[in-house]
């Protein structure tokens, strides 16, 4: 029996979205950690350690999601959350 494969946008577009989203989320997460009530030195290092996982997880998520739209919908709240706190961390 062969499973029916759902339509998904061209891999190139998905790759592009994955890289852009992963880059932004990584950047915001490394800044958002600065908003935590830790010593800044500790937050900086923790943000870097976290960054690679965020990047990899975002790319995987974009490829796991059934469609590019659902991938973006999933990323949106995470992006909003991290962007908000990255602004707090920058203050």
């Amino acid at each position: 029996m062969t499973a029916k494969v759902r339509f998904y946008p061209a891999p190139l577009l998905r790759t592009l979205v994955a890289i852009v989203c992963a880059f932004l989320l990584t950047r915001w997460s490394s800044l958002a950690v600065l908003a935590l009530p830790w010593q800044p030195e500790q937050s900086v290092v923790a943000g870097m350690l976290l960054g690679f996982s965020i990047f990899a997880a975002t790319v995987i998520w974009v490829f796991v999601a059934g469609s590019l739209r659902s991938a973006c919908l999933g990323i949106l709240p995470a992006g909003a959350f991290l962007m908000y706190f990255s602004q707090q961390g920058g203050l």
């Binding site: 499973a3 759902r6 891999p11 490394s30 500790q42 290092v45 870097m48 350690l49 960054g51």
Partner: protein, 506 residues
Amino acid sequence: MIAPLGAGVRQRMAQLHRWAGLLLGWLLFVIFLTGTLSFFRQEITLWMQPERPLVSETVPSALALEQASGYLQRHASEASHWTVTLPGTRDRLVHLNWRGANGQGQVYLNPMGGEVIPVRDTRGGDFFYRFHFQLHYLPVLFARYLVGIAAMLMLLALISGVITHKKIFKDFFTFRSGKGQRSWLDAHNGFSVLALPFHLMITYTGLVTLMMLYIPWGLNQAFPEPEQRQRLISDVFAVIPTEPPSGERTPMVALPALLAQAEAHWEGAKVGRVQVSNPGDRHARVVMEARSDQPDLLGIRGHPPFLVFDAGSGEPLREKVSAPAYDTYGLLLGLHLGRFADWPTRWLYALLGVAGCGMLASGLILWSVKRRQKPGHSAVGLWLVDRLNLATLAGFPVAVVAFFWLNRLLPAAWPERSQWEIHGLFLAWLAMLIHALIRPLHAGWREQLGLAGALLLGLPVLNMVTTERGFATSLVAGDWLFVGFDLALIILAALMFRFARQKRAS
């Protein structure tokens, strides 16, 4: 209950796995191979400098430091920086480095008598270590970014590879020989699953080693001033900032006394390296660094603890900062570098590194084997992948062995000798690439693998002819490094001949 993953997800993961693995797969193979060799960095350097005598007795660190300090005061008193690497378990000579306005220098001292050991000019194992993360001939920053991108692709390929497999552990115990594509897939699964935790650890920690380069935003935001950033970097990476000299001469406290103070502070942990900045000046500082291979006393750390002393008064000024994030980073870095490892652990690291090379090689070959069976495949793309596979998977090992051959063949007085060893490696690799482009594929594999086997097998003979540390002599003298090196070469030669024979049979 967790619903099983749909075919669409698996297909997309397979696609990600395929392209993430292929895009920089050849570069990753080279990075993995040189990284694996780097676990034996010091041993390779020792083999490449056969003039160094076999020192079996351990000399007290204080005595070795006293000899080193005396030599530096006599020959490098005007230098701005001294570094003394004390005898350890892997290298029993004292290594001195100095630099200053009049240039730089280095010598090896025999700790038994304090005499200078003249050695041939070679980068030794350090070449593989540097190449592993900053390649060669390329601008350092560009190369480090490229290696970082390759490492991230590797991490993505590993995660997507796990997700795409339906029966990952069952597949691990399956190997169907002589079945073409199926056999390559089984081999790829075997190499991948066997060492999966290692592959994940070494890839993630590899990214972490250069994290300040790849993820700089938090650092720049929290510490906008360069001096602040330098302070953090010196805390995290144990880079010791040097003060400018005052110009006022001041006698220094005897270094062995500071060594004893540092070892007492670390409750018996041994000092591995001593650095002196502005020796003989009022601003002279002495940094005592502990040896990395003492995990029972110091834990696993990327950068060992250090103590900074005022060289004039002998007063301790500063020590390595310990904090949760720094220590986590240190642990990850320590796991990647493997400097804490004793011999069995080092060999385990090396074998898992070889499994990583096998995983990458079988994955790259699998890509072309699968593609060849698909109707309507791109002939140019397949031709290119096949040729790059041959030139990298067989050609790069040939080039590495050529590097060792050149170490024994180039005269000791050859100008820029160490650089020519490296040029020789890349010229040999280029020759393998040209060979891969002009020869029929099967013949190319057979010839390059056969050549790698022949060069590996010839190396112990060349070593015996050109040095006084051949297999039999080393065996009698109990020189296990040279004996082990020769045995490893013979085993690798046998493997290469076996692969070449398999290619002939197929």
